[in-house]
Symmetry: C2
Subunit: 373 residues, 2 copies
Amino acid sequence: MTAAGKHQVSRTETPRRGSRPGRAGIRDVAAAAGVSITTVSDALNGKGRLPDATRSHVREVADRLGYRPSAAARTLRTGKSGLIGLTVTTYGDEPFTFTEFAYFAEMARAATSAALARGYALVILPASSRHSPFDVWQNVALDGTVVIDPSDDDQVVTELMRQGLPVVSDGRPSGDLPVTAWVDNDHEAAVLELLDHLADAGARRIGLLTGTTTDTYTRLSTTAYLRWCERVGQDPVYESYPAHDPCAGAVAADRLLARPDRPDAVYGLFDPNGTDLLAAARRYGLRVPEDLLLVCCSESTVYASTEPPITTLSLKPRRIGTAVVQLLIDAIEGLNTGQPVEQVIPTELIIRTSSQRRPPRTTVSAPRSPSGD
Amino acid sequence: MTAAGKHQVSRTETPRRGSRPGRAGIRDVAAAAGVSITTVSDALNGKGRLPDATRSHVREVADRLGYRPSAAARTLRTGKSGLIGLTVTTYGDEPFTFTEFAYFAEMARAATSAALARGYALVILPASSRHSPFDVWQNVALDGTVVIDPSDDDQVVTELMRQGLPVVSDGRPSGDLPVTAWVDNDHEAAVLELLDHLADAGARRIGLLTGTTTDTYTRLSTTAYLRWCERVGQDPVYESYPAHDPCAGAVAADRLLARPDRPDAVYGLFDPNGTDLLAAARRYGLRVPEDLLLVCCSESTVYASTEPPITTLSLKPRRIGTAVVQLLIDAIEGLNTGQPVEQVIPTELIIRTSSQRRPPRTTVSAPRSPSGD
DNA sequence: TTGAAAGCGCTAACAA
DNA sequence: TTGTTAGCGCTTTCAA
């Protein structure tokens, strides 16, 4: 063993003051291995040009001492934490709403595994930040952040970008909010395709169940619907409701089917609309798909086994979550060219019974009363 | 402005070497405010006994400079990161499975908001850890960790506890795995209550759809079922399948209803079993609840609007997620007494049409008193 | 091939 | 009331 005595470490047995109790530090390993802390660092991180003997010896000693490098120290020194933020809108106490739930869960799941695969971990953070020292945002060292549907003047995004941290958004940013990159679907194209599909299945008057919120998804989808109506010369038939209220959807579905100009096909923009509409149809004695064609935007697999199975539009949250994280990590690691990157993920229309009318026979019948069968 | 010149900071305009570009550090704020860095730290953190004038002046300057304290440095110094790990079992590429999905999502959601409310953020981490420097676990400074259903000899848990970090588990630890605290349901009591409910509704032969895995939940629930059968003198009728395989459930449901000793009531242990069983019943021309009573363990709201609505057992993942995080943070902050803490969360049987053979009233009566109606 | 030394940016004793 | 100073544990030039 080479001259352990010449190193800067405790030749005495008393641990340095302030040292964390019980846990071995890099100095302890160096002392025990009879090398310098530099050598320990290099050996453990696969750097430097050490002989294999030294390397394995150091590793062995570190192992024996149960040495775990301090992530905080490494982060402070290198400026990289390996942590990626994922913002989550909170409504009252709960992060994200019932409506966004399946989408978000799938997206987060994909994002998590994509991040882990590249050696990063996801930190869940609220979409807004108070300007106080107790704010979580202040306490976490992030290499970059994924944001979901940032608003026009999102303060968190603005601040992060100002700090020089990359921000990638799920959903194209509205206004002139600067982001490093974004990923989104082509919502307009998706709606147009879907409406054409319903028309092909025999729909004469297609209704829309939409939201009162002004987020990009709702806005683009509704606009596309209105444009389509204009193009084919149909009067728009739609009902709006606050999508974050889990009860309001059922009421709105009912309202839509109770109208004198009742549609013979409906597209629901939000995940629970399928079951809501199905239940409403049942109340009015409408058979699906014979009397009413149904499509909703959803990521839930339950629509494969409802009675009847319901056609859904999937926004492919898994692909979005993966893409968002890849773009972010590329930006963190300086792998992309520097100009804003935009990525459009295709949607998928999963056609099931509810949007396929059997032999196109009956014309639209007159509205029935809620009780009638 | 008081003697700025006497401070140790750059009276020259050149930033210190190595300083992060563009971002103001505590020294810059101190210099600009004409105070020492200690005063800046104290002013910003509400510590020390500074006059309000100094405090607000410093805050103003910090604000003007866009000063953001370095989380890494603070963590290194204080030993607290404000970060809590949440482990997630990965199957292949994807974190958590379809089966656990709704439960996990709800639990994680509650855990996230509970953590945020106390100033902590959740970091999603894989349930296993390679022993390599590229392992995510090595790169994140955690104050403590929540683990879901740790196995008998969970290496990650063992290692964390050895490091002196608190670990709270969702699901009682099996074997003699040491954890700081755990939260769980009383799975046996829940199953017994549910079987009694089915028997009260007229079930003569209750079947079970269970898993082939050996996790605690599956094991305890199955054991409870077998014990109940023995007590009432019924032959057990059950089918097992690998619960993480999304397709296997439907097959097993079919198998169960195809048996010569076909049950007249079934309890499914996993979330998708409800729709699987409903579909299987339809295939065999069995009416629910007339010919077949159905209950499954699920957190999904879709069972409220299936045809017919299906009775579910909820494990209350929200309450579990909240409890787990509270216990963990209490442990981190040294608020609890030191001995192991165990917390049992009651389950909830949500009674719907599928398990009520008697007059279809919507009123939910106590499971044990069928005579009242 | 290895080691010494200089910090990363902050907080908290201890001085003044 | 405020400032000086000594590190937290690591990585990284630079020197030997």
